[in-house]
Structures are given as structure tokens and as C-alpha cells.
Subunit: 332 residues, 2 copies
């Protein structure tokens, strides 16, 4: 899932996302509920109509952004009281309200409100966040509207026993899919991999498995090898705005002088259709000159790179050849 | 001509310009000669190849930007000495050098280096600028490479006798087209119209007539009625970045609260193909949220509006019905 935080995958149009082959995107409940407001989006035909997107939409619960963006938040068993980062107005987010907002947004997949502790975090805090997540899980489910799909989230930090407990607890509940939360929150890769490796096989075999906020191509491939199906990540578009292009040879920094006179594509193997039209030297010029087209072309390039990665994974899984992709993407 | 100052019409791709039906764009010699440098652009296949643009390109001479952007400039009969606004390095622009830079850029139409006085300007200064422009005209022509098309520029400020003298002088020289310069430099419309009305009919009937830097739809229609063929203007894209959309009912400011709940296009009559997909409320949200897609969609809308204006003018001239357009665009 490309990430459209505020109802827009930055610089990219819905037509372009469709042309790249994406079928599902992620949008942020926290941002959209503050601006323009989920009630307004509902009156305007839901987020699909609002942003002119004909594919599927998954929204996060808003919990993660409340924690990372808002000052002055208080979390209790009831919910999270916080002040908007936009105008300081006081808000109160509960599991019921999060599910209601996502229903108003009219998305295809809603995420349960959980407590996602930051990294680093003590075992005590990881346990408390897991317990509160478990307390909230049935309330999220009870708030569902008819036909609203809600995914559960396993917490437990980097602690094997907590992850086992959380996976077992969540697996018993009638969620429509299951996510691993609390990874990609700042921990090093060597701490992320064991959590994924341990937790993924504990999730129900008949439900979609979603690893939240991951990640680098290597991280995705590792997670797929553990049985994960679904990913969201800001990297393709964020890296693009920071003038970095994904290639099979590694990430290319477009400000690097080596591209200044390069009259060919950065990545001759790119599947982005305009690759032949715009040279590396032109792309570098756009970034150096502060032209907005630079971030846009780079975003399209990176999204095409990720779309191909996911297509090759799907094909490789079907044909049983996907392990070869580890080497193909080793430098990406 | 949409304006691609630094080799990019801001936020818009070359594919999109082609799809909108534009056949000629303007780029800025001053900006491109400083960054990335005309010698580099030449080595990379010229500006067409550099920016992946398959239509025509006209460049200005660089003189106007030297005057408006550069501090510490000294103008003599030889040329203009100035410091780059990017790094303060000292540069010297002469008629010969301007024509050479434009040849290196490999464009289809080069503009002669003239002296364009600012507004307001005394009659004495307008006379001096005109005389220096006349002094430079033959030097521009002598510097042409084989096959390089160069347009002359008539100066003379708001003074009828000077405009007559300049038009007569320039008309004698073997330029490939003729421009009216020194308008749209800050003077009120009621001072601009008489200059265009006076000067346009004095230009050779068998050469293209180009009114530099104009303008609003009304200004373009007035100028066409005086016999002008060609225009460049930053308004469609600059207005778009300032959240203003051109419509036949007048300019729409997308920050206006009246659009907040408007679940339909800003301009139902727009010829921009994505008009039905993105509502006014969504466009307003993009601007309010600082999403770069807002300026991009607005730019495409405004360019489509101008492309239609010019298409309707061409059609109206051929059919002899074009005077009706004055009313059609009276509020635009």
C-alpha cells in the first residue's frame, strides 16, 4: 500500500496509482479526522469519492499519530485524550470513535485502535500497552457497522512471551484480518526480524496478515518469507522527496555529482514508463533547482519499483521461485 | 506558451503538456545558463532532449531576468555585467553571448537581447533603452548560427513616437518574427492597451507577432484584436500555485469556504479531463493540507483553460466569429 496520509499519495494522482497497478492504499485516520473531518468526507461520498480513488483503502486507527504527533496526550483505559497538532483543540479518541471515524470515511479495511508503545520501551510498558490493546480489541469489534471489515493488531514489543500471548488472544477474536503492530517504530532491523519471524506463524492461517509500517525491500522479502501478505510504507514517496531513487543496484542519490552529466536513465531497468524520456541529469537538475516535478518523477519511479517488487513476489510465491528474489533485491 | 522557467513548467510533465495540446513553450535563458549551464544542456542533446519535450521551445534573451533578479548589474553599450543571484559569480551578457547561449540550448526560437526598462520609467530612460536595443539588434542578428531563428523586439515604453520609431527600425531588419517588449512590466492595463493597439499594426504583416509576458484572458483577446499571434504567460501556473482556478465565471479561490462542501467540480465546463474525478472540496482540502497534488491539479486545470482559450481564438479567427469570445471570457 502506498501511503496517502492526508488523502493524497504525495505528488501522485489517483490515475497514476491505478496505472502503476496498485489496488489498495493506506490513509491516516488521525489526519483526515482533523482535516477535513470524517463527517464531511462521509457527506461527500466517502474517501473513495473524495480522493477520486477507485481501488481499495485501508485506514490506520489514528492511535499511532496521536502518540507521535500530538503533545499533551493522556491515555487511560477509556481512550486517548489529546490536543490537535493543527489548532490545539481537545479531542478524545476511543476504540468506538476510531471505528466510527473509519466507517464515516467509508474505507474497505479499518484497523482497531491499539496502544503502540514507542521504542525503546521497558518490558513493563510493553506489557501494559499489550493489555490495554487486548482490553480495547472487543470494544473495537463491538463498534463495527454492518459489513465493516476490521483488522486486529498483535502487540508485545520485542518480548517473545508477550507476542505469543497477544497473538493467541487476538486469534480468538472474529477480526477480518490480523496485523503485527509495534514494529518499525525505531528499533534496529536485528530486533525487528525475530519479532516478525516469531509472530507471523502464530496468526490464523485463513486471515490476511499485515505487517504495519514495513519497509525496505529487504524487510518486505524477509517478512514474506515469514508468511506476511500485506504492507504499507512511506519509503517510496518519502525517499523520492529526499531525492533518492530505488534501483536494483542500490539507492541513487540524485544530488550526487555523478549524475550531473548522465544523459540516460538513472535506472535503465526501471518499469516507470517515462524512464526513457527523463535523464538522470534532468532529474538532478529538477532537484537542484527546487522544481516540484523532481519529487513527482522520483515518486513515480519508486512506486513503480515497489509495485514490481510486489508483483514479482506474488508471481514467485505462485511458481515457488520467489526465494531467488532475495538475491535480486540484495542491494536495493 | 506555458512558461517553463528552469526547463520545467512547474508541477507539470512534458507528457501532460502534450496531452493538453500545447505545441510551444517558453524557457528562460538566464536561469538555464546559470543552472545547469547551456554548455551542459548542449552536450545532453539540447533543451528538447533534456526536458523530454517533443514540441517547440522559445527562449527569452536573459535580459529581463538580469534586470529583475540580479543585484549589482551595470549596463553599457557593450552588454550587461551582473552577479548571479545563485552564487554571486560575475557574468557578462552581450547580444552575441545571449544568441550563443540560446543556440547551445538548441531551441526553435531565440529572442534578441534588448534593454527592457522597468515601469515607471522617464521618457529619457525609455529613449535610452530603445536606442540601446536598436544598437544591439544587428549584433544579435550577426551572431546567429545557420538556421537559428531570432525574433526582434520593439521597445519605446508608453511613448507613441518612440514605439513608431522602434517598430520602423526593427521592421527593416531580417528578423524571423517580431515581438513587442516592455509591456506587462507593471504598468496598468489602461496604459498597456494603447501601446499594443498602436504598435501591433506597425509590425511586418508576414512575420509572427509576439506580445511578451501577456497575460490575462482579456488582455490576450484585446491583443489578438490588434493582430498579435503569440503569447507567453506564467499566470495559469502561478495562479494555480496561489490556489486560483480560471473559470468562465471568474477566478475561483480554492481557499474560499464556499468550496468546503462542494461535491462537484469547481468548473463543470472545464476541459481538464480529471475534472469529474476531483471535487472542489477535495481540491480545497489539498491546498489547506499543503498537499503538492493541489497545485498540480490546479495547474493542469488552468493550462487546459488557456489551451481552450487559444483554440477558440484560432477557430474564431478562421470562421470570423471570434469577436463573440470577448463576451464569453468577460469574467475570466
Amino acid at each position: 500500500m502506498p501511503v496517502g496520509t492526508q488523502g493524497s499519495v504525495k505528488t501522485v494522482s489517483s490515475e497514476e496509482l491505478e496505472a502503476l497497478g496498485f489496488e489498495l492504499i493506506l490513509a491516516n485516520t488521525y489526519h483526515l479526522s482533523l482535516r477535513p473531518g470524517s463527517d464531511l468526507v462521509e457527506r461527500l461520498g466517502g474517501l473513495h469519492g473524495f480522493m477520486g480513488w477507485r481501488g481499495g483503502i485501508l485506514t490506520d486507527s489514528g492511535g499511532y499519530q496521536v502518540m507521535s504527533l500530538s503533545k499533551m496526550r493522556t491515555i487511560t483505559d477509556e481512550g486517548v485524550r489529546f490536543k490537535s497538532h493543527l489548532d490545539g483543540s481537545e479531542m478524545f479518541l476511543t476504540p468506538e470513535r476510531s471505528i466510527e471515524i473509519q466507517a464515516e470515511l467509508g474505507v474497505d479495511i479499518s484497523m482497531m485502535l491499539d496502544e503502540c508503545p514507542p521504542y525503546p520501551c521497558s518490558r513493563e510498558d510493553a506489557l501494559a500497552a499489550m493489555n490495554r490493546t487486548h482490553l480495547w480489541a472487543p470494544r473495537n469489534l463491538a463498534a463495527r457497522r454492518d459489513g465493516q471489515a476490521v483488522f486486529g493488531i498483535v502487540q508485545g514489543g520485542v518480548h517473545e512471551d508477550l507476542r505469543r500471548e497477544s497473538a493467541a488472544f487476538m486469534s480468538e477474536l472474529p477480526f477480518d484480518g490480523m496485523a503485527i503492530g509495534g514494529v518499525s517504530v525505531g528499533e534496529p532491523t536485528e530486533m525487528q526480524y525475530p519479532v516478525v519471524q516469531l509472530t507471523a506463524p502464530l496468526l490464523p492461517r485463513d486471515k490476511v496478515r499485515y505487517l504495519m509500517g514495513v519497509g525496505h525491500p529487504q524487510d518486505i522479502l524477509h517478512a514474506v518469507s515469514c508468511g506476511i501478505d500485506l504492507f504499507d510504507c512511506v519509503l517510496p514517496t518519502r525517499m523520492a522527496r529526499h531525492h533518492c531513487l530505488y534501483t536494483l543496484e542500490g539507492r541513487a542519490n540524485m544530488l550526487n555529482l555523478k549524475w550531473a552529466k548522465h544523459n540516460g536513465p538513472v535506472d535503465a531497468g526501471s518499469v516507470f514508463p517515462s524512464t526513457e524520456r527523463y535523464s538522470a541529469a534532468y532529474l538532478r537538475h529538477l532537484f537542484k533547482a527546487g522544481e516540484p516535478l523532481g519529487a513527482r518523477l522520483a515518486s513515480l519511479h519508486n512506486l513503480a519499483f515497489y509495485a514490481r517488487l510486489m508483483a514479482e513476489i506474488r508471481e514467485g510465491v505462485e511458481l515457488g521461485t520467489w526465494a531467488g528474489l532475495m538475491e535480486r533485491y540484495a542491494r536495493a
